[in-house]
């Protein structure tokens, strides 16, 4: 018992205090945005300086944004799944805020991945859309993001939808491996993985470096946006609680006047 009482709180437990979280995230936030901007700018500049692909020509450059978007839409759901574990296992008070804040950002990145992919697919495959395994599973992911957003916004009282949302995120995570391996399991139009492979990336360095840089940049951008959205959500809940308190006080004041 004594060890529990005197033990230092873990790294995540410190963050459980929203005030501490606001303080820390406020300090980290500008650096994250700056690093993200730097990595994205460098990555995209290098990407534009990269030679044209011998088959795809200049259109290959859409890869430098399409691949990070697609990678992010899977990573964001995974981040939400980890937060869901935080809600269900450790009852971390900010894990629910994290899910609620991440869902719209994830939906936007999924839409962007689908849009850029479709713009890339038009000249390369000759069609805006095919019902190929990768595309379909990402489309399903978008519907799941939208359903989750609807669920987290269906209740006025914050925290009530936390556990249902966490369970839905965990069940929906089943789709992520399906998306990742859809190009290997089914023989599809979408090309198979060329960066994360067991035998190393199959891409020349002048394409790989800008791609990785912009992937890192957009990942940092997501975490920065996520922090901002979480801060906003915490502040929103605070404002709600304060206004409820103020309303109660005003009520009490009125009844005193009436008495």
């Amino acid at each position: 018992m004594s060890t529990v009482a005197t033990g230092r709180p873990g790294r995540f437990a410190i963050l459980a205090n929203p005030t501490r979280f606001l303080e820390l995230s406020g300090k980290i936030q500008p650096w994250l945005y700056a690093l993200a901007a730097l990595a994205i700018l460098t990555g995209l500049t290098l990407g534009f300086m990269a030679p044209e692909d011998y088959q795809q020509g200049a259109t290959v450059r859409i890869m430098f944004i399409h691949v990070p978007f697609a990678w992010l839409c899977m990573m964001i759901w995974t981040v939400m799944a980890l937060s869901a574990l935080g809600t269900l296992v450790w009852r971390h008070p900010l894990a629910d805020v994290s899910i609620k804040a991440a869902a719209p950002i994830g939906a936007v990145f999924t839409v962007l991945a689908l849009l850029t992919g479709s713009i890339w697919g038009r000249p390369m495959w000759g069609t805006w859309w095919v019902w190929d395994a990768r595309l379909t599973s990402v489309f399903v992911l978008l519907i799941m993001y939208l359903g989750l957003i609807a669920l987290t916004r269906a209740l006025d009282e914050p925290g009530k939808a936390a556990k249902p949302a966490a369970i839905l995120v965990l069940v929906g995570w089943v789709n992520i491996p399906i998306i990742k391996f859809s190009v290997d399991w089914w023989n599809t139009l979408h090309q198979p993985a060329s960066v994360m492979r067991a035998d190393g990336p199959s891409m020349p360095a002048e394409f790989l470096t800008p791609l990785l840089l912009s992937a890192v940049g957009f990942t940092l951008l997501f975490f920065a946006l996520h922090l901002t959205a979480m801060r906003t959500e915490i502040l929103r809940r605070r404002v709600e609680a304060l206004s409820r308190l103020a309303a109660r006080k005003a009520e009490r004041g009125q009844s005193e006047v009436a008495a």
Binding site: I143, L155, K163, I167
Partner: protein, 222 residues
């Protein structure tokens, strides 16, 4: 064990009684199938070609329609709280309730599928294959649906949300159900691999669904 059997019988009785609405799913199934020829025209060749897929989509939609009743009625009259507080494990309760719902509304869908297949001018082989895959696959939809129903049980407008939440998760079941059916009709396509994956999906969601739904129901109670 006895309490689970009692729960199964109770749910089944409630579902087939006049207010249960189990038959509404079948009527909806009938309505969906009857609407399709109006939409795409009475071309019998085309209908018999896309028939299995139409049957599957109709069964999927009809199953979704019955899901919001799975826990909502019990929540309204307080039975759900008793079940949560009781000694029986929640996953077992959810499993039994899903099984009862499937017997009351999923099984009738499977049994009407052959007749609706005749409407769609399907070959006897295709009808048999579609019925078999529906029999194996529709429990999976019910089990996934249990998660959606449990998640949405605390919400004011839960019914519509259940369909939105469940539909994307049910897509793998649809894919393998339809591809197994076509595998049985079209010669080069294999039947057994997609059929076995469909069976595996049912078993997988039969495990995952009750556990997740049980946790969601517990969370909604406190």
């Amino acid at each position: 064990m006895r309490s689970l059997a009692a729960l199964y019988v109770r749910d089944l009785r409630l579902a087939v009684s006049s207010g249960g609405g189990a038959m509404i799913g079948v009527i909806f199934f009938l309505a969906v199938i009857a609407t399709v020829p109006f939409g795409i025209g009475p071309d019998l060749n085309l209908l018999s070609r896309i028939g299995p897929a139409i049957l599957w989509i109709g069964a999927l939609l009809s199953t979704l329609l019955t899901l919001d009743r799975l826990f909502q009625a019990d929540r309204d009259d307080g039975t759900l709280d008793l079940l949560i507080m009781g000694q029986t494990l929640m996953p077992a309760v959810v499993f039994v309730k899903s099984a009862a719902l499937w017997t009351a509304s999923g099984l009738p869908l499977v049994l009407t599928a052959p007749f609706l297949g005749l409407f769609l001018a399907m070959e006897p082989d295709a009808i048999a294959a579609a019925t078999l895959t529906l029999f194996v696959g529709t429990p999976a939809i019910t089990f996934i649906g249990a998660v959606g129903a449990a998640v949405a049980v605390a919400l004011p407008r839960g019914g519509l949300l259940v369909s939105v939440l469940v539909l994307p998760l049910a897509i793998p079941v649809l894919i393998f159900g339809v591809s197994a059916t076509y595998g049985a009709i079209n010669d080069p396509d294999p039947f057994l691999p997609p059929f076995l994956i469909l069976t595996a999906l049912t078993l997988f969601f039969g495990t995952l669904g009750p556990v997740a739904a049980g946790a969601a129901l517990r969370a909604s109670a406190d």
